[in-house]
Symmetry: C2
Subunit: 345 residues, 2 copies
DNA sequence: CATACAATTGTAATCGATTGCATATTAATA
DNA sequence: TATTAATATGCAATCGATTACAATTGTATG
């Protein structure tokens, strides 16, 4: 099992120096055309391949970027990652995946770990709403040469770029649509509002109500996890109220599905009795047989692509002043059967 | 913006040598306990962090593994990757993701690219049934020190480990179940049988028929892509036959869904007129409102974990003789409404 | 013909950590 | 006290590539 050939091997074979070989391989014009050609041929002959690790050590660039997400096995995150990979690979970068499972300590650990292997940047969707209290994270912040880009779940931190969707608008549009359908008592399945995304969906919901003269009723807002079971539980609570709601805007498709199941099993009709809108445009929302689920598309692929582009801009920026970009994508309300009583104008 | 501290910085501060510092940090007993303690404290003080790139160059181990899949945004593959990441991270490895989108040239390129950045191993689900004709791949094969582990879509190559499920059994069990339901004319939505997985599902299907005295009818086997649309098209063809089938075993859940849609829209009842079984246990199969879809679970999480374990065994193997493991997981038939006419015994 | 300048290639340091082989210091033994 | 052994540290090479700064050779010009 022979070792990989290095520039020294090539140099030795040609009676040259490693320096010359290196320059020749990089097509440096200081090296005569003849030598360049010769070196290139020999390199090919000897199956030479540049050792990227050596290069990385010398240059301080690993051409790796870290991506941190709560979990990878969800349609949303895997689509974002798909976008990131597709955008970064052509530029010579490799994508390292890390999952946090929403645990702060794991998130901290993985940030550190990525910094340690000298990634050229980190793209992340935060799991920890109190990220700033995190030592490893703060170290990263100070180290301005390693770009950090938030996507989706971000924290508003000065000097840090982010790519998100306009969750406020998502919440607003969904709620407005329900109002347009004639719904008056619209419940909201929320989630931990320490996260901007859930807070903004909630705020959008409230604003739409207020803009349309509907009084906000705190009892109609239920905090849930993003799961079918939690959706069922929340729906149960709502249905057991004295005056049940006539619509539900859920910040999660899974919870929306759970709610729909519970509602139907309780003998109510969707959308006639209760309209439902979810959030994320998970594949299954479109696959339902009877009641396809209205939802809000977050364009995860584009989000990933954009986050990657922002990263690329930041790494290629040589100025002293850091550019910070906060891109906000526009979500799209997708109206399906679960909320369509009448065709809208 | 100060640079990261190195062992040289620590050495300078303490009037020692980098060698001593290195040894102290590695808890080498040749270094006196006092010095060790001193160095460790100073390292902490100065926020020292080992430069993994330097280490990688020196040791030849990058502690990165590459994972190559057709695409990451499918439930199956992202679940496998989840398993891989969860298993490898605790052992100090990072996972680099590459997608091929089923294109041979991209697959080749990415294999080369990963080898170039000195990954310590590659776990992959092949996109190219003719992988052996691939130059980059063959280079990898010869280089016995970098473990290669196939998962799911493998190629039978001597000396290469793999983790798959028993697709034959999956196909057999699904078909047998349909026979047990009284179906006599069972169609099969297949896919490119140059891939072992599809070939084996097909063979399992055939075997179950033959074992139960049903004659194999080639016209009932339709090659499809794994998509809803293709499932519809295939179902259309089948329904238009003189004698339509009374069951469909699809090697893809998406195609199964498409078939179900087409069948229902044509006025047939599922499962009464036609039973359907899919493959993969995609989330939506369970979420259907009326006709939850029978399918075959492939345990992707476990598959990823196992593939990672096989990799770990191979890298930690110091013997000259290579260990090759071919793990075959057992799939599980999940019977739901789309194929359940009668409760089975 | 001498000098200047351009065109090539070489020398050696560098990135940061590890490690075999000295070397120096101290302690133990004869 | 002389010798040996153990303990602790330093020296210098190494991993493979890049690059500032020589050094060499050749060519052109006055």
């Amino acid at each position: 099992m022979k070792k990989k050939t290095t520039i020294y091997d090539i140099a030795a074979k040609l009676g040259l120096t490693a320096a010359t070989v290196s320059r020749a391989l990089n097509n440096n014009t200081k090296i005569s055309l003849n030598t360049r050609k010769l070196v290139l041929e020999t390199a090919l002959e000897m199956n030479y391949e540049q050792n990227k690790l050596a290069l990385a050590l010398k240059s301080g660039k690993s051409f790796n970027v870290g991506v941190i997400v709560p979990r990878i096995d969800s349609n949303f995150f895997s689509s974002v990652i798909r976008g990131i990979e597709e955008e970064l690979y052509p530029m010579g970068y490799h994508v390292i995946i890390c999952q946090t499972h929403n645990q702060e300590n794991i998130e901290n650990e993985k940030i550190n770990s990525l910094v340690n292997v000298q990634v050229d940047g980190i793209l992340m969707s935060i799991s920890n709403a109190n990220l700033e209290e995190n030592k490893g994270f703060n170290k990263l912040l100070k180290n301005k040469k390693t770009p950090l880009v938030f996507f989706d779940r971000k924290k508003d931190i000065k000097g840090i770029s982010s790519v998100t969707i306009d969750d406020f608008k998502g919440g607003y549009d969904a709620t407005k649509h329900l109002l347009d359908q004639g719904c008056k008592r619209i419940a909201h399945l929320s989630n931990d509002r320490n996260f901007e995304i859930f807070r903004n969906r909630y705020l959008g919901y409230k604003q739409a109500l207020s803009d349309n003269g509907i009084e906000f009723d705190e009892r109609l807002v239920i905090e849930t996890q993003s799961s079918v079971l939690d959706g069922r539980r929340a729906a149960r609570l709502l249905l057991d109220m004295e005056t049940p709601p006539d619509a539900i805007f859920s910040s999660s498709d899974f919870a929306a599905l759970g709610a729909i199941q519970e509602i139907k099993e309780s003998g109510f009709k969707i959308p006639e009795d209760i309209c439902v809108v979810g959030f994320s445009n998970e594949p299954f929302t479109r696959f339902m047989e009877l009641t396809t689920i209205s939802t809000v598309d977050q364009f995860p692929l584009e989000m990933g692509r954009t986050a990657a582009q922002v990263f690329l801009e930041e790494v290629s920026n040589t100025e002293d002043t850091k550019i910070t970009k906060n891109v906000v994508l526009t979500p799209q309300l997708i109206i399906r059967k679960s909320s369509l009583k009448h065709k809208e104008a």
